[in-house]
């Protein structure tokens, strides 16, 4: 029996795989060209960015109080949410206090993580996704399958069908028409909304500035017409100084979408002040832990450097073949294979198969703008799964192999005995790993011990 992600990939329709593969491959290749054309030593830049983020997460005890002070000084209110539930309730409280019933939302992965939109809808409040991809995910009651491109798994015909179903016009799969219709629909939502919610790509501890990058400009609309801005942000998004953004923003757009910079980069310094003509009059920043402190205490803390660019998803051969939903998690791909099981806390075993869905090829580490050693972290989580005795379907047991490989005499006997595979049909050999190998590949001829004989027989040139 193979692993769940392998089974998912085997069932994935060819057209879905093709769209995921094409899109990720194109972005990855463009990203590489951009970085290497524009920077003398992009690898040095990745290392620098990694050091900045590592420093930040290792000093959160300094930076979080600092950022709280800065934010309060600028007029924002600060909330701390230790769990997803607490974060959802904080949002609910803010809305109820204002008598607000309608929210417009920009794209934020942490809101997916804590399932905020569903929570609010459950309390009779409206929460409309305004990022085009997220909007389509929402009307389809689907889940994002990529952290930057939520609908990478959908084609325009499916989207046109959904729009028709939702009463957004007769079937038309022209992308410009789809976009225009979504824009028209969302304009009314922006104007009617009471509250605008965004995430934050970075929060500067030095200035308290909230930094947001988008391509559609929807996050600006979320703030333009509403009186109250709520920022939902993971505690790991802190950067020490504003100048660190010069490094990180240079890498984020290029790594994520192969753009020098995203179309919009916003620096938000607090709610509207006296004398300012517009902007929300009230601003709340909710810092979400939801398992991050535990990750920080683990031997996989480097994963908290992640700036959610998606470059590791785009380059990953497994992600390309299996697609994001294979990972059964808000965070898919290589970063998700590390982060998602960690964020499960005590329910880690439920996602302990994710770190195994990797050939450990290291491409994710090579492209990561903050130099996260993802393969090492995957390996650590595999070791943790083994220590916690999580069953692993199809994995060959390593005990017998270790017995062989730690005893040279037994090893040599096995080298000679292995010849049997040259004479027996593979189907008759009751070793599941061998069966799985031979289903699609021939086995080479067993020549166990031949090299040792050759080495012994020949005269050493120096003798």
């Amino acid at each position: 029996m193979s692993q769940p992600i392998d089974q998912f990939a085997a069932r994935l329709p060819a057209d879905k795989r093709a769209s995921v593969y094409q899109s990720t491959k194109t972005t990855h290749e463009k990203r590489t060209r951009l970085l290497f054309d524009q920077f003398g030593d992009p690898d040095r830049l990745r290392h620098l960015a990694g050091e900045i983020k590592q420093h930040a997460i290792e000093n959160l005890d300094t930076y979080l109080p600092q950022v709280e002070q800065r934010l309060r000084a600028s007029g924002a209110q600060v909330h701390w949410a230790s769990t997803g539930q607490a974060a959802c309730e904080a949002v609910l409280r803010i809305m109820r206090d204002r008598g607000a019933t309608r929210m417009v939302k920009a794209k934020t992965m942490v809101s997916e993580e804590i399932e905020l939109a569903r929570f609010l809808e459950g309390h009779g409040l409206e929460a409309v996704e305004t990022d085009l991809g997220e909007f389509i995910v929402q009307i389809d009651d689907d889940h994002p399958s990529h952290i930057v491109r939520p609908i990478i798994h959908k084609n325009r015909r499916e989207i046109a069908t959904s729009f028709e179903r939702e009463g957004l016009g007769a079937y038309n799969d022209d992308p410009a028409t789809i976009t225009r219709r979504a824009r028209h629909h969302l304009r009314h939502k922006y104007l009617a909304a009471d509250v605008g919610l965004t995430g934050a790509n970075f929060v500067s501890a030095e200035s308290g500035r909230i930094v947001l990058v988008t391509n559609e400009g929807n996050s600006r609309f979320c703030l333009a017409a509403t009186r109250c801005h709520i920022v939902l942000v993971g505690i790991e998004k802190i950067v020490p100084r504003d100048r660190d953004l010069a490094v990180l923003l240079n890498l984020l757009g290029r790594s994520g979408t192969a753009q020098d910079l995203t179309v919009y980069t916003e620096f938000i310094g607090g709610p509207r002040r006296a004398g300012q003509p517009d902007g929300p009059e009230e601003m709340h920043v909710i810092f979400v832990d939801n398992g991050r402190t535990e990750v920080l205490a683990s031997d996989c803390r480097e994963i908290l450097r992640c700036i959610r660019c998606g470059a590791c998803l785009n380059v990953c051969p497994i992600y390309r073949q299996a697609s994001g939903h294979a990972y059964r998690s808000v965070y898919p791909g290589p970063v998700g294979a590390v982060l998602s099981p960690l964020l499960m806390g005590e329910r880690f075993p439920q996602k302990a198969d994710l770190p195994k869905a990797s050939s450990l090829c290291g491409a994710c580490h090579e492209v990561c703008p903050v130099n996260i050693p993802i393969p090492d972290l995957l390996l650590r989580l595999r070791a943790r799964a083994k220590e916690e005795n999580v069953p692993s379907p199809g994995s060959p047991p390593m005990g017998p192999w270790a017995l062989l490989a730690a005893q040279p005499a037994v090893w040599k006997a096995a080298l000679a005995g292995g010849r049997i595979i040259n004479h027996l049909p593979v189907k008759l050999i009751p070793v599941p790993a061998l069966q799985a190998w031979a289903a699609k590949r021939t086995l080479p001829e067993w020549r166990g011990g031949e090299f040792r004989k050759w080495m012994k027989a020949r005269k050493r040139p120096s003798a």
């Binding site: 193979s2 497994i318 990797s358 050939s359 199809g394 994995s395 490989a405 020549r447 090299f451």
Partner: protein, 255 residues
């Protein structure tokens, strides 16, 4: 990127770690490695007690089992000489993987010391011995496989330099060369569908440029790709880098 810091090479004697795959299947690759090193005036010692680098269990998460094997390997390769391996993957296991799984072990220092004198073959020739070009002749169009476990090391540039310098040999580029072939050790049997898909994609790219030979610093990837190609009924000619270097000394492709 990897813990690939190495002690400078002094002396002309090395220990050969032949790898379990060469021990079981690919004796000619190990023999070629010996002949290539001896051509460079290097004395090659083969510690008889050697078995495997410990990577299968390490990758499988069974670090206790893997450490047992690594400890055996550390004892077997006692001494000061460089350890040369015709595999980027097993070499990375020794200087990176083993170091990771011994972080909290009392004998971490010994494991680290073995790692610092462990080399993949092409890296050893070019950066250990300072040999920048290769003599002989080899009439062939060669596509070079970039073994994933050579990422962050000097193996691929070293292999390119050596192959590129051989008279008659031309290196051909192919698409998505940075992508994994889908071998991945036990990944190949626990994720059989994905592994085969990745392999088929690699074969498609390689076949598109129709090289005479597909050459790799690792036999594991070639076992997978060669086996897939053969099972498809469209075999490709695969060679280990050591075989090409040796055969160049003898005038060209053979076997």
């Amino acid at each position: 990127m990897l813990n690939a810091e190495r002690a400078p090479v002094t002396g002309r004697k090395v220990q050969l770690m032949a790898t379990c795959l060469c021990d079981a299947f690919y004796d000619d690759v190990a023999a070629a490695t010996v002949e290539v090193l001896e051509h460079l005036g290097v004395e090659v010692v083969f510690p008889e007690g050697q078995t495997c680098c410990g990577q299968p269990a390490f990758n499988g998460g069974d670090w206790a089992a893997s450490r047992k094997v690594v400890r055996h390997t550390v004892r077997t390769f006692a001494g000061e000489e460089p350890v040369v391996i015709p595999s980027a993957s097993c070499a990375a296991m020794m200087f990176h993987g083993a170091v990771l799984e011994f972080e909290r072990e009392p004998d971490a220092a010994e494991v680290g010391a073995l790692g610092r004198r462990t080399w993949e073959l092409a890296d050893f020739i070019v950066n250990g011995l300072g040999v920048k070009s290769w003599p002989g002749r080899y009439e062939a169009r060669v596509a070079l496989h970039r073994s994933c476990h050579s990422r962050g090391t000097e193996t691929v540039p070293a292999a390119q330099a050596l192959l590129g310098s051989i008279a008659g040999l031309s290196l051909v580029e192919f698409g998505e060369a940075e992508q994994c072939c889908g071998f991945g050790g036990t990944f190949a049997v626990t994720f059989p569908h994905l592994s085969a898909k990745m392999g088929e994609l690699k074969l498609e790219h390689v076949r598109a440029v129709a090289p005479d030979e597909y050459v790799s610093p690792d036999m594991s990837c070639l076992m997978h790709l060669g086996g897939l190609a053969q099972a498809e009924g469209k075999p490709i000619r695969t060679r280990h880098l050591a075989q090409v270097l040796r055969d160049a000394l003898k005038g060209g492709p053979r076997g």
